[in-house]
């Protein structure tokens, strides 16, 4: 197989230009995970337009605007994203220093009590990262990686839930860590505040020189359904609260990519035709993911091959219009499609139609 470009041409129209204030839902199942596709979104937003892209005429999708990405990951740590992005030629650590990318870690300390944080990993990151960067004009805007300056003017201050957190929610290296504490909306609001602080911080920091005022921030929320599953109605977080939470985050960014699990037990058990008793976990999950799909502009579903596993096919990608498609007059240059994809050992991805 010939070496693939990092972004397969078939995928480019889907991942490279997300309409303003849109939500894209990417659903995955156990055997067909969507991390590779998230990385393609990152690459489309952050990667330098390569010569092949320019030749294909996709380079104008940037529109001269500066693109930035905030990645919130609940299931995977910074190490994973950094190494996998590197395989695509995307240096996330460098992009973090250039203030084009920010990672928010929802894995490491989400449920842990703030005192027990014996993490040796990030402090070792910190000096080398900071030391490697030559002093830029950016830095005076952010004197210390301490408490984020944008936290002050945030609306909706909720001191109740955040108060015990603030001492520990320091930024370590490039990574901000989320903590979940408290119940219901207060807990979610605290998370939202942390995330929007990072977003605003990223928006404010101008990259060197070229005077582009407009920055488009893409927010990637990786598997927030974990929050829903791991808390449940017992802690006052349900599908409605989660939907509101995502919508609240959407207001701050240009476009949002949301990944959820769509395994059959999580979606279909909730239906009234299911043969077994339904748990709240299943109903809430189904409500959240289906609700998100209805609010989405585009839905990308990953699933296994129905005919069993194959050695040269990893799974099926179906791109379809979400419930919010066509609400605003953006000329969409993509069509609904179902293709097969194959993730190679070296991280390259080939996307092809059936029978090709």
């Amino acid at each position: 197989m010939p070496t693939q470009p990092p972004l397969p041409p078939l995928l480019t129209p889907y991942v490279s230009s997300l309409p303003p204030s849109s939500l894209t839902v990417l659903s995955s199942v156990l055997g067909a995970t969507g991390n590779w596709l998230v990385l393609r979104f990152l690459h489309a937003a952050l990667g330098q337009p390569s010569t092949s892209d320019a030749a294909l005429g996709f380079s104008e999708t940037n529109n001269g605007k500066k693109r930035k990405v905030v990645l919130v990951s609940f299931l995977r740590g910074w190490e994973f994203w950094r190494t996998e992005a590197k395989r695509l030629g995307l240096d996330l650590a460098r992009l973090t220093d250039k203030r084009q990318f920010a990672f928010i870690d929802g894995l490491s300390e989400l449920f842990s009590v703030p005192t027990a944080t014996p993490t040796q990993t990030s402090p070792s990151h910190n000096p080398q990262l900071r030391g490697a960067v030559p002093p830029r004009t950016v830095l005076p805007l952010r004197p210390q990686p301490g408490p984020v300056p944008a936290r002050g003017p945030q609306p909706a201050p909720r001191p109740v839930a955040t108060a015990p957190n603030t001492p520990t929610s320091r930024e370590i290296g490039p990574v901000k860590r989320l903590h979940l504490s408290g119940n219901g909306n207060a807990a979610l609001d605290a998370l939202e505040k942390d995330i929007t602080a990072v977003i605003n911080d990223l928006k404010k920091s101008m990259t060197t020189g070229d005077g582009q005022e407009e920055t488009e921030v893409l927010l990637v929320i990786d598997q927030p359904d974990l929050l829903l599953a791991a808390t449940g109605p017992g802690r006052g977080i349900g599908a409605t609260e989660m939907g509101d939470w995502v919508m609240g985050l959407q207001q701050h960014v240009h476009a949002t990519l949301l990944t959820v699990s769509a395994d059959s037990p999580l979606i279909h058990n909730a239906s009234t035709f299911a043969h077994q008793p339904t748990t709240p976990l299943e109903t809430e999950h189904a409500a959240f993911s289906i609700g998100s799909a209805h609010r989405a502009h585009m839905v990308m579903q990953l699933r296994n091959l129905e005919t069993g596993a194959a050695r040269d096919v990893s799974g099926v990608l179906r791109v379809s219009k979400g419930g919010a498609w066509g609400q605003d007059d953006v000329d969409d240059h993509w069509e609904e499609k179902e293709v097969l994809y194959f993730v190679q050992r070296d991280g390259g991805v080939s996307v092809f139609g059936r029978g090709e």
Binding site: L30, L75, G77, L226, G234, L266
Partner: protein, 395 residues
């Protein structure tokens, strides 16, 4: 070739052949970077991996030849048998033999005393090797097309071929053994077996799993940084061991998530193996699916109901092989599926497992000829089984 000057000696060509061989063979560096016993770099991506104590399970794990550090393997089992428990015991025993720190959650100390006895490194103990070599010529030739399962890409065993076989056998003695063979009927006596760390499920004012995790964190944090840990969680959620409220999602899933967080810190060298009884918690339940999503590898054991009598003779492809005792399904493999999955040669195979006194073996499953089908049975007996031949004709 055409770029080479004609009048230059052939030494360059020899060199080139050497490098080609080198790339074709996965880099099997015997020395790990830190040279920790029982840890070796994966032939696939160089990440440190450790053995599960079961050679054929190691080979199943997406070309890594073991369980990569920082990964959780979830073993699910249907029915009332305890094959998964045997896998766990091998896993724990391997950790003991390799001087790794083994943490056993929710089990009394008897569990540790019943670990299987050590026979020796897995490579040298394989007493059936010669016999199998003979078999390979006659009958098992059809398995050879399936990518050398016994050897695996990772090659915890010697590669096939007589010359390399003897060479590798020589290597085995020099290299520290990566995987050992155990005997289930004997008891493990090893100096470091007293290092087993039992984490009882003691009730406290906190939720049970929270306090368990805290204890785990404390023990791991107290160990010197180079220690390799193994976390063993036998039959999680089993109501005989765990109180019913543990199976609430808001207890269990934060625990699994925090476990994942604990293991994903790059300084930690931890692997974990968890078993759950599927009869009580079916895969079609959302909770179990979330447990699977939070694990890095998921395999399911489906034991045959009456493996001893009904399937005894016909389940095995030949009379010399032991009949399979159940099917093994691979739902997710560490690292591979996190990246997107699908390119492993082992995927899509039907696997059968056989637990004997000395080993837990996983091999490709092939349906036996139908009972009444005399012709088919004879065909299988004469080693001209219809299936591979047909496949060759079609493709």
């Amino acid at each position: 070739m055409s770029f080479r000057k004609r009048n230059v000696g052939l030494s360059a060509g020899v060199d080139r052949a050497g490098t080609v061989n080198g790339t074709a063979q996965p880099p099997r560096a015997p020395a790990t970077p830190e040279s920790i016993p029982g840890v070796r770099p994966s032939p696939d991506d160089g990440k440190p991996t450790t053995s599960t104590g079961t050679p054929s399970l190691d080979n199943l794990l997406a070309g890594h030849g073991g369980l990569p550090l920082g990964k959780v393997l979830l073993v699910e089992e249907n029915g009332t048998t305890d094959f998964a428990g045997a896998l766990l015991r091998y896993y724990a025993a391997e950790g003991v033999v390799q001087d790794q720190k083994v943490h056993v959650v929710g089990m009394p100390e008897q569990w540790g005393r019943s670990l299987p006895g050590l026979l020796g490194p897995a490579d040298s103990v394989d007493d059936k090797k010669d016999k199998r070599k003979g078999d390979r010529m006659k009958i098992a030739w059809r398995y050879e097309r399936l990518g050398e399962f016994g050897a695996g890409i990772a090659g915890s065993r010697a590669p096939a071929g007589d010359q390399s076989q003897s060479a590798a056998d020589g290597d085995v003695d020099k290299r520290p053994a990566f995987c050992h063979a155990f005997d289930l009927t004997k008891r493990l006596t090893h100096p470091s077996i007293t290092n087993l760390n039992y984490i009882p499920l003691a009730p406290s004012n906190e939720p049970l799993l929270t306090s368990t995790l805290k204890r785990l964190q404390a023990v791991i944090a107290a160990c010197p940084p180079n220690t390799v840990h193994r976390i063993v969680l036998p039959s999680l959620l089993n109501p005989a061991i765990y109180p019913p409220e543990t199976s609430q999602p808001d207890n269990l899933l934060p625990f699994m998530h925090s476990l994942r967080a604990l293991m994903s810190t790059s300084s930690a060298r931890i692997t974990a193996m968890i078993t759950i009884p599927l009869s009580l918690f079916p895969r079609s339940a959302g909770l179990v699916r979330w447990m699977e999503l939070l694990s890095d590898g998921v395999i399911e054991l489906c034991p045959f109901p009456h493996s001893s009598d009904a399937l005894g003779s016909s389940g095995a492809a030949t009379s010399q092989e032991e009949p399979p005792q159940g099917m093994l399904k691979v739902h997710r493999l560490p690292v591979l599926h996190e990246r997107g999955g699908g390119s492993d040669q082992n995927i899509g195979q039907d696997w059968a497992f056989t637990l004997s006194r000395r080993k837990f073996e996983i091999k490709p499953f092939s349906l036996p000829p139908a009972e009444g089908d005399k012709e088919g049975q004879e065909g299988a007996g004469a080693a001209s089984g219809g299936m591979p031949k047909k496949a060759e004709l079609e493709f």
